[in-house]
Amino acid sequence: MDIIRARDLTVGYGRTEVLRDLAFTVPEGRITVVLGVSGSGKSTLLKTLAGLLPPLGGEYDFAGSRVDYRSEASLRFLYGKIGVLYQGGALLNGLSLFENVALPIRMQHPKMPEDMVRDMVYASLAQVELAGSAEKYPAELSGGMTKRGGLARALVLDPDVVFCDEPSSGLDPITSALLDDLLLRLKETFKMTLVVVTHELRSIERVADSVLVVNDGGLRFSGDYADLAAADDKFIRTFFLRKDSHDNA
C-alpha cells in the first residue's frame, strides 16, 4: 500500500514554482529518502506533504484521502497522523525539553493524567537518548540534542508517517549513526513510514528503501533504492561518482 500519492504536484511559493509536476508514491512502512542538492526544493516538498504549504497545482492523497489545504478537517486528519522533525529542531524556546515533548500530548489530550504524560514523554526521550536532559531548556542544548529533541516530540504521539528534514546534517558520525538506528527501529518495531531528507551517503545506504531524487525543478527519479544506480540521469551519476570516490578514500 502507498500511504502517499502525488499526481502532477507542483510546489512553490506564490508565483515561484520550485518543483513542477511531481508524480510519485511513498510506500507504507518503509523509509523513503529524498535526495537533491541544497536549494533544490526538498524542504519545500516536505512542507507541502506535511500540510503547511498549499501546492500550486496537482493532487496529493494521504492515507487514501485527498488533502484539501483549505479544509480544516482535512488538515486536522493529516496533522493527526504525521510527525515532523524540522531542519533546526524547532523546539519552543520558552519551554523545557520535557514540556516541549509533552506539548503535543497536552494539546491533543488535555485530560490525560500527569503520570501518563510523564511516562510517554520519558519513553520518547529515551528513544533519542535524551532522558537525562529533560529539564534543560532549548538554549542549553547542542544542535544535535535539539534535533533529537525535535524528533522525540515528533514521535511522542506515535504518528503513522514521520517527515525528517536533514536529521543528521551537522551531527557527528556517532550521533548520526544513532539516529539511523533509531529510524530503522521505528520502521521495524512500529511499522512507521519515514520520509527523510538527507545528504549523508552512509545513512542513505543504511536506511533507504526507496528514493526520490529532485533536481532542477523536477523529479529525476522515484523508486527502489536498488534501482537508483541504473538510473540514467546526470545528477544521479554525479552523485554516485562522488560516492565512489568517497569509498575509495
Partner: protein, 354 residues
C-alpha cells in the same frame, strides 16, 4: 612587428602592480605580446591581470601562457555568468511606474484583507476558548499578564505623570489670564480620562508590548516553531494569540485606572504649586464636570487600543518572511502599524462620541 614583454618568474601582487602601468602604456603605443611562460610564482592578482589583458586589452595584447599558470587560469578565472541576466523590465517608464504603484496597492489591499481576516479569527478563537478552555497552553495567560504588566507599568506611570504636569502647566498659563484657575481641574480631568491616558497607554503598549510580541512571534516563525505547532495539531493563531489577547484585556483596565490617578495627580501638583489650589478643592471641582461615563469610555478605548496593538503586532509577527533580518524589520513595522491603528480608532471614537 609587436613588442614582447617577458614576465618574471615571480609575479605576485607587488610585481603586478609595479608592471601594470608599463604594460598599459606600451599597449597604447602599439601591439604587444605578453609572455607569461616563465611565471612560476603567482597569485590571484596574476590571474586578475590575465583576465584584464584578455578582456580590456584583447585587441592589442597577445598572451603566451603555459604550465601551472595556464591550468590555474582554466580553473579559477571567473567566467561571465552563463545564465542570462535579466534585462531591465520592459515597457516605458510611466507604465512601469504605474505597474509598480498598482502592485504595491494590490499588495497593501491584500495585507489589509489578511489583517481583517485575522482580526475576525482572533475574536472567534477567544470566544471558542472562553467556552471550551482548549487549545492554549495552561497558565500562559497569567504569564503574559505578568510580562505585560511588568513591562509597561513603570513607564506608563512615569510618562502619564509627566504628561499631566505638562498639559497643566501649559493650560495654567492661559487660564490665569481669565482668572479661571479652578477650571484647571476640569480641563485636566477630562483631557486625561477621555483622551490622553488611553492614547498614551496605547502608544506605550505599542512600543513595549507590541514590539516584544512581534519580535517573539517573528523569530518563532523564522525558526519554523510556528510550523511545528501547526503540524502538532495546534492552531498557532489561537495558541499564541489568545493568551496575549486575554492578558491585554485584563491588564489594560489596571493600567488605565493607575494612569488616570497618576495623570490627575500631576495636575494636582501643578495647581497646588502655581495657584495654591488645595488638592481637595481640585478634586471637588473635577467631580462636577467629569462623569463616570468619561472614565468608562476612556477605559473602553484603551482596551480597544490594546487589542489593536496585540492583533497588529501578532499579524506582523506571523506574516514575517523567512530570514532573520526580517524579524527586525517586522518589529519596526509593527510599532508603526500599532500606532496608526490606535490613531485611526481614536478618530472613529471621536466621531462616535461627540
Amino acid at each position: 612587428m609587436s613588442d614582447t614583454v617577458l614576465l618574471p618568474k615571480r609575479l605576485r601582487a607587488p610585481e603586478v602592480v609595479a608592471l601594470l602601468d608599463g604594460i598599459c602604456r606600451s599597449a597604447e603605443a602599439g601591439p604587444l605580446t605578453l609572455d607569461f611562460r616563465d611565471v612560476e610564482e603567482f597569485d590571484s592578482s596574476t590571474l586578475a591581470l590575465l583576465n584584464y589583458v584578455r578582456g580590456r586589452l584583447a585587441n592589442v595584447v597577445t598572451v603566451n601562457i603555459g604550465g601551472a599558470l595556464a591550468r590555474a587560469e582554466e580553473s579559477f578565472v571567473r567566467r561571465p555568468p552563463t545564465e542570462e541576466t535579466k534585462g531591465p523590465p520592459s515597457g516605458s517608464l510611466p507604465s512601469r511606474v504605474l505597474t509598480a504603484i498598482a502592485d504595491r496597492f494590490i499588495f497593501q489591499a491584500k495585507s489589509l484583507g489578511r489583517f481583517l481576516a485575522m482580526l475576525g479569527d482572533e475574536v472567534y478563537h477567544v470566544g471558542v476558548y472562553l467556552k471550551e478552555r482548549k487549545g492554549v497552553y495552561p497558565g500562559e495567560t497569567w504569564n503574559q499578564m505578568f510580562f505585560m504588566g511588568y513591562r509597561s507599568f513603570p513607564i506608563v506611570c512615569l510618562l502619564i505623570f509627566l504628561v499631566g504636569v505638562t498639559i497643566s502647566i501649559t493650560s495654567a498659563e492661559q487660564l490665569r489670564h481669565f482668572g479661571a484657575d479652578i477650571y484647571l481641574a476640569d480641563l485636566v480631568g477630562l483631557a486625561m480620562l477621555k483622551e490622553l491616558v488611553p492614547l498614551m497607554t496605547g502608544v506605550i503598549l505599542a512600543g513595549k508590548v507590541g514590539a516584544a510580541i512581534t519580535a517573539e512571534l517573528a523569530s518563532m516563525t523564522v525558526l519554523e516553531e510556528v510550523d511545528a505547532l501547526r503540524t502538532m495539531g495546534v492552531v498557532p493563531e489561537k495558541f499564541l494569540m489568545v493568551p496575549r489577547l486575554l492578558a491585554i484585556t485584563l491588564v489594560v483596565p489596571l493600567l488605565v485606572a493607575m494612569a488616570d490617578v497618576v495623570g490627575i495627580f500631576g495636575g494636582i501638583v501643578v495647581a497646588r504649586v502655581t495657584f495654591g489650589t488645595p488638592p481637595a478643592a481640585f478634586i471637588r471641582e473635577m467631580m462636577t464636570s467629569v462623569k463616570w461615563t468619561d472614565f468608562g469610555w476612556g477605559l473602553l478605548k484603551a482596551v480597544v487600543f490594546g487589542w489593536a496593538v496585540v492583533v497588529g503586532s501578532g499579524f506582523k509577527g506571523l506574516t514575517v518572511g523567512r530570514s532573520a533580518e526580517e524579524v527586525g524589520r517586522a518589529t519596526t513595522e509593527s510599532v508603526v502599524l500599532s500606532i496608526t491603528l490606535i490613531i485611526l480608532i481614536d478618530c472613529i471614537f471621536a466621531f462616535l462620541l461627540y
